[in-house]
């Protein structure tokens, strides 16, 4: 029992990290709203499905195409929509939120809701870790999650582009005066965040069927993790998802699986009441707490 809590808690936490990381990169780190995140996530799932089933492409090629297409879509979202309302945070949020809802409801209308919409596992089979059976897909998710965290950490702390992402979030004018192209950087961060959503979708969606509500859940999870850990820090995302992931698995094991959603609500309300900037939130603290 204890070992299965530990193993499945780890898997669940890494899933939450994977989901939250792309949202956090665009919104938390470079300060560009991307509330179409759930829409992009689900769109990646359906795009891969369509590439596999309508065009019969090999899985690896379908993955590459999906990630690239969704990345370009994110870039275009910035260039077509957000560029015109840049700086008006509210309009940014409303426009991207509407875009996400529009995408999700479009798929619902097209009837993409039945059980046949599943993605294949990367590798079939399972192994046993400490007496707990664990399939390779979940093991792979842990690997991808860790790789993404390491990538993100190095990317935003040690590369030019990553540093300029943080630059435009901290002070856009100063960033411009130092030669950072604000629009280009913002569009790039949206593209990267969307591509990360695609990677997360392709890794996680094989575990269940692709359904519309997953898209809303994804946004919910991303926001919950961000609020708890602090939106703008990589360790924050990690800690936030581990707290939520383990709390969920323990609730699911010892109380009832239906109560797992209640964990989010309790956690969010508690964190907001005690430390509104999140556990690791730092530089935005002064801005968000009046």
């Amino acid at each position: 029992m204890i070992s299965s809590v530990i193993v499945y808690g780890l898997v669940n936490s890494v899933i939450l990290t994977l989901i939250a990381i792309g949202f956090s990169l665009t919104f938390g780190i470079s300060g560009v709203a991307n509330f179409a995140y759930g829409g992009f996530y689900l769109f990646s799932g359906y795009l891969t499905w369509m590439l596999l089933n309508y065009l019969g492409l090999p899985f690896a090629l379908a993955i590459v195409i999906t990630v690239v297409v969704v990345g370009i879509l994110g870039f275009l979202t910035y260039w077509v929509i957000l560029l015109r309302v840049r700086g008006i945070v509210l309009s940014e949020v409303i426009a991207t939120f509407a875009l996400g809802v529009g995408m999700l409801e479009f798929f619902r209308w097209k009837g993409f809701v039945t059980y046949e919409f599943t993605l294949p596992f990367f590798i079939k089979g399972s192994i046993e870790i400490a007496g707990v059976p664990l399939d390779y897909q979940r093991l792979l998710i842990i690997g991808i999650g860790l790789a993404m965290i390491v990538f993100l950490y190095i990317f935003i702390h040690h590369t030019r582009i990553g540093l300029s992402f943080r630059g435009i979030a901290q002070n856009e004018r100063t960033a411009i005066s130092l030669g950072i192209e604000s629009d280009w950087t913002a569009a790039l961060s949206l593209a990267l965040g969307s591509a990360m959503a695609a990677i997360a979708a392709i890794a996680i969606l094989p575990l269940g069927i692709i359904s519309i509500n997953v898209g809303y859940d994804v946004l919910l999870i991303a926001v919950a993790v961000g609020i708890i850990g602090g939106l703008e820090s990589v360790p924050g995302i990690l800690v936030g998802s581990f707290i939520l992931g383990y709390a969920q698995v323990i609730t699911g094991m010892y109380i009832a699986p239906e109560w797992m959603m209640v964990v989010y609500l309790v956690a969010i309300v508690l964190v907001l009441a005690i430390k509104p900037s999140g556990i690791f939130g730092k530089f935005k603290e002064l801005e968000e707490r009046v």
């Binding site: 709203a33 509330f35 929509i81 015109r84 309302v85 945070v89 509210l90 309009s91 949020v93 409303i94 426009a95 939120f97 509407a98 875009l99 809802v101 529009g102 409801e105 479009f106 619902r108 209308w109 809303y216 946004l219 919910l220 926001v223 919950a224 609020i227 009832a256 239906e258 109560w259 797992m260 959603m261 209640v262 989010y264 609500l265 969010i268 309300v269 907001l272 009441a273 509104p276 801005e287 968000e288 707490r289 009046v290």
Partner: protein, 337 residues
Amino acid sequence: MVRYRKERLDRGIKVRCEDIFALSSYRETLYLLLPRALPVVALLILPMLKGVVGLYWEKVLIITCAIALLAISWDLLASVGLVSLGQALFFGAGAYLAGFFNRSFGWPPFLTIPFATLGGALCCTLLLLPVLRLRGVYFAIVTLILPLLLARVIEATKILGGTEGMSALSPLPNIWFELYVPVIALLVCLFGFRRLINEDYGLVLQGIRDNDRAVMSGAINIYRFKAQAVFMAAAAGAFAGAFMTHYYQFVGMPAFALDYSILPLTCAVLGGVGSFAGPVIGAFILVPLSELLRAFGTLRVVFYSAILIICVVGLPEGVFHYISRKYHQFERVVKIE
């Protein structure tokens, strides 16, 4: 090369009417009165036409009033600088409380609706109290997920009827009650909020939106004002929810559905933010339109989203501000010297 530009000038009648309260002619009185009286009269006459337009469109009128109430509640919050993406929270709180009072205590509608309005507003205010310290986007994020989460909590814990909801609640007494209560509530909220926001109290609220630190430095407790604004906005939304519960004689998880968040938001943005009249105009455009599009099913939400994006990006002014500009000013083309 001769170049031209557009020039906007206030109409003479507007300039005269602006500060002089002793109006000199019927024309000037009408100029001021007409835009206010016309919608009131129209709204009061509409329910009487039920023989002419049919009960179906009267039903649309009721839904329109409920959505318009949610939209002006959004606008009130927006004028304090709190942007809500989850009006369904207010609607759902009122709806569920009304259902709960009716089901558990057997109260009649004229008791449940006021109590659910006040109780729902109180619950929402308490729930949002820790969030009031957040600004802008952070508040929007939290309000976006709260109704979704509450729906999940009800689903999970099976309280208040769980997934099936509560049905067979008491109906409203008669058709006139059904039609006039939402219309009058809408008018009271519309003109009440418009008055409120221009009083000293409302100026403080607008000050909080424009520069909250400046208001704080004036030794004003802005959290108290924000909480009061949330209470008022939530009361308007909860009333709409409580009323619709008795109108449908059913309350269930759809009360927290995204429709009740995104439709009022679309109405407010389409109609024009910050005037209260704008969101009402938006509601009276969008809700009947969405009834006409009922055949498209969930594709309607895609339409709302498209309208929302187009309005936010392309027409940030809104219908109301456009109309009022045309009413108060005229435009002419002048040569650039």
